[in-house]
Assembly symmetry: C2
Homo-oligomer: 513 residues x 2
């Protein structure tokens, strides 16, 4: 059911700027820097960006820069990718990935909280145009955002010009957001007064200089869904070990009835963990996370279990407006959408004692983790908020299947002697979990001692002897590392043979963070 | 001039616990966990720990655990090292290093801010004994610390028993400290209300449960000095490039007359940078740093230049009490000593827009940095606060000489294709500086593009062709990495030959962070 647009644009001056999308995209010229709304497919300008791709195709050699909160959907980013010269700070698009690997698109990965601040600090230069999906324009020209916040507030503040995409199909999100801008030098910051997941410390809308708005367009496209992938037995085993770890911490660190706010990524392991929590002895769950995802709906439904959630986006597997509206009715007051510099703010993650749980691509025996590059050379997606959360969390949990079966039939180990790209250092991970168990880094133990535990508890038994052999071969030192030598090459040859010899059987499907 | 001890112990009950140090050390038994004061040689228990080493030598197979703030002096840690089974979170002792590498001492590196919080969270277990140097015991049994804070407040709060070492030779530090304890789960944190370098938000002394004090001893030993090493031409060139970078940022990001608070490490490059600042156009300098070091004395002397400093320790090259007292008179009110969880607090480093400047061992062409392990396998010292600062700073500057000459006469490059241990990821470094120039990571550029700039601006010209060759050989991808293959081994052989062929000449001496 689409709402008449007049009900969603309460400002006369801006209603007069309503134009067809084909006209609005004409404002974009080659070389422009665009900052757009959107976070894990939620709240992206779904009408504008595809139309922009069609427009740019008519210009000779048009290239633009695109900044978003986190990932855009393939439906939106795919057609635009050939025209993107520079992309940041996160993407999960197959089309962009190909161009990035081929050197045709410049892509710089950044911690999401850093990127949002950096926009305000001027680290990413001037922004020519902000394109932001909104669910309502208020009488004074300020705007109510939609299913995500991401960098929308910074984009609207910094951009020279603004195009608003009013979505008349989605519910009116009034009251869901808590908007604060990061203070930029030479202004010194102030203590952010958030001390609870549900705290609101800003405005429920974004203030806007109406004079900057060059066009308003209408969209009737709901968010594209984020597939909900159920895991197999391996994912359930990982979830069980995560819960066992949390139980150990509760007993060891005197939580009593308190449960720390939880951050969990998106994907089948995260889904299994949430499902596990929903039937665990842990009551009164708070979520301080990036994405309010499908798996959390079940928790919200249990009012004894759900105590509140904060995120930068609502990304569901079924985005039918009635369904989103039902969630808002069920959780309103207990669910807050924040700018990503707030959802991922080190200050708040540390203060609230968040438990961060994310899935890297691979970990190593010393506890370093790779979240971005399968072979060290080619980015799969950005690291997103995994660094913001892992580094600052009370407890940081890296969970991954112990092995991953490739398309060529070989099975590789997700626990390696060293990762091919380090996104998170051993200093930032408190617990590594696979379907075989968990290993922690509490207390004072040398990396060598921790390695033995990670191998024995987390690595797949098929690969354990080889990993122990690596440590033995690497010789002396508290964190033995074999540098490039014959022996290292020999080890990798043995490892390749072991991957090929891995017995076939059911495993946990390959997946990202 | 030593003050009569009665003037420094104002509490009758604790004055009665005054015993000779040889008696006090008898309280320590094998297996005990000790948390001691001390940070970069400042404020360590200089009477107790050497006496403890003599005591432990009389016990069969005595082994203890020792936690400190940051480094202890070799005079103190050296004799004790053979008895230390577990050591954290930072050390810079040759004696400990040898034992750690040989697997005889377990050492776990941690971000200093994490370690201090972890002590309160229970991550490091129970503490049997806190041994803390104080400059005064107040009538109610609370204590005024001395030249450092480090983990002293956490140690006194968490330990089962306490020994106080009253130093009657050093000045009375009353009024220099700002003591706050980190809130531990299940207590949620609160916004730390610091918004300026000189802000005080806690108490100038540490509250203490008098019943826990099992002994009080006297010390007449001033802090051991931290050698002040002047740099050569290369260090001056690095300092010039750092200042040029700061000048560029001032113009580009609209600082006008504002200068961000500065964090700088200890060492000859840091000294050169401070000396450069002291004659730069930058006025009203604030320092938000870990260690108030010798080089800053010159800045304090210039009252138009010095606006305030916050640190966890005062570590001077000449620790004569009269000299320390003169500094306190000159800077009192503008110089605050804080617990290391506050000096290194991500919340405050981000809020105050600190510029962090540290010297890693090596960096790589993509901007990762190694602060702890020369060959990837053997720890040189902990990463200390470099991660706390680099990750959360407004601007993070990694400065290093482009090359380092080893004892065997070979000269190695400090800019490598990949570092042998990653302590700081490419996501956390904004600027790399060597004596040849600086390269920044502002804006959106692929790691490959950034690598070209780091090689051309920062690497030594002798090694540039080889580094470019590596990128070319590594092939496709946005961050090409050569995994273990014949080609990688061949590259390292060529590199070794280049190190041997490096022309002799003056360089910047090897040094740590």
């Amino acid at each position: 059911m689409t709402i008449p647009i007049a009900e969603r644009i309460q400002c006369d001056a801006l209603r007069r700027k309503l134009v067809p999308v084909e006209e609005a995209v004409q404002h974009v010229r080659s070389g422009d820097v665009l900052a757009v709304s959107g976070f894990t497919k939620a709240g992206e300008p779904k009408a504008f960006l595809p139309a922009l791709a069609r427009h740019l195709a008519t210009l000779p050699d048009a290239r633009i820069s695109v900044y978003s909160g986190a990932s855009l959907s393939e439906e939106v980013e795919g057609p635009l990718a050939p025209f993107i010269a520079r992309r940041g700070p996160y993407m999960a698009s197959a089309a962009s990935r190909r161009l990035i690997h081929a050197g045709k698109m410049q892509y710089a990965d950044a911690h999401l909280s850093h990127f949002a601040r950096g926009l305000m600090y001027g680290f990413y230069g001037d922004i020519d145009l902000a394109v932001v999906e909104v669910s309502r324009i208020r009488p004074d020209g300020s705007v109510v955002l939609s299913s995500s916040v991401g960098i929308s507030a910074e984009a609207l503040a910094r951009a020279r010009a603004v195009i608003l995409e009013v979505n008349t199909t989605i519910p009116d999100f009034t009251g869901m957001h808590d908007i604060v801008l990061p203070p930029a030098p030479p202004t010194i910051g102030w203590p952010v007064p958030v001390t609870g997941v549900r705290d609101r410390v800003g405005l429920p809308y974004v203030l806007l200089d109406m004079a900057k708005v060059i066009a308003v367009i209408e969209s009737c496209q709901p968010d594209f869904p984020v597939a909900f992938r159920a895991g197999g037995a391996a994912c359930d085993a990982i979830a069980d070990h995560v819960l066992a770890f949390l139980g150990e911490c509760r007993d060891r660190f005197g939580w009593h009835h308190w449960v720390p706010p939880l951050q969990s990524g998106v994907g089948n392991i995260a889904n299994a963990v949430i499902a596990g929590l929903a039937r665990s002895p842990f009551q009164r769950l708070h979520f301080w996370t990036e994405v309010f995802q499908e798996g959390l709906l079940g928790v919200v439904a249990d009012r004894d279990r759900f105590a509140g959630a904060s995120a930068s986006a609502i990304s569901l597997a079924d985005t039918a407006p009635a369904r989103v509206e039902a969630l808002m009715r069920a959780a309103r007051g207990d669910l807050v959408l924040r700018p990503m510099w707030m959802s991922n703010n080190p200050e708040l993650i540390a203060r609230l004692h968040v438990v961060a749980m994310n899935t890297p691509i691979e970990v190593d025996i010393y506890g370093h983790a790779n979240s971005t590059r399968v072979d060290g050379s080619r980015v799969v997606n950005g690291l997103g908020g995994s660094g913001d959360f892992f580094r600052n969390a009370y407890l940081s949990v890296a969970h991954t299947p112990s092995v991953r079966t490739l398309r060529d039939g070989r099975t590789i180990s997700c626990v390696l002697p060293y990762v091919s790209h380090v996104d998170h250092t051993e200093h930032d991970i408190k617990c590594i979990v696979t379907e075989h168990g968990y290993a922690t880094t509490f207390g004072i133990r040398s990396p060598r001692a921790r390695a033995g535990e990670i191998i024995d508890r987390c690595a797949h038994p098929h690969f354990r002897p080889l990993l122990h052999e690596y440590v033995a071969m690497a010789g002396e030192g508290d964190e033995p590392r074999l540098l490039a030598t014959d022996r290292l090459e020999g080890w990798w040859r043995d490892y390749d043979a072991a991957c090929t010899a891995f017995p076939r059987g059911p495993g946990c499907a390959s997946q990202g963070a």
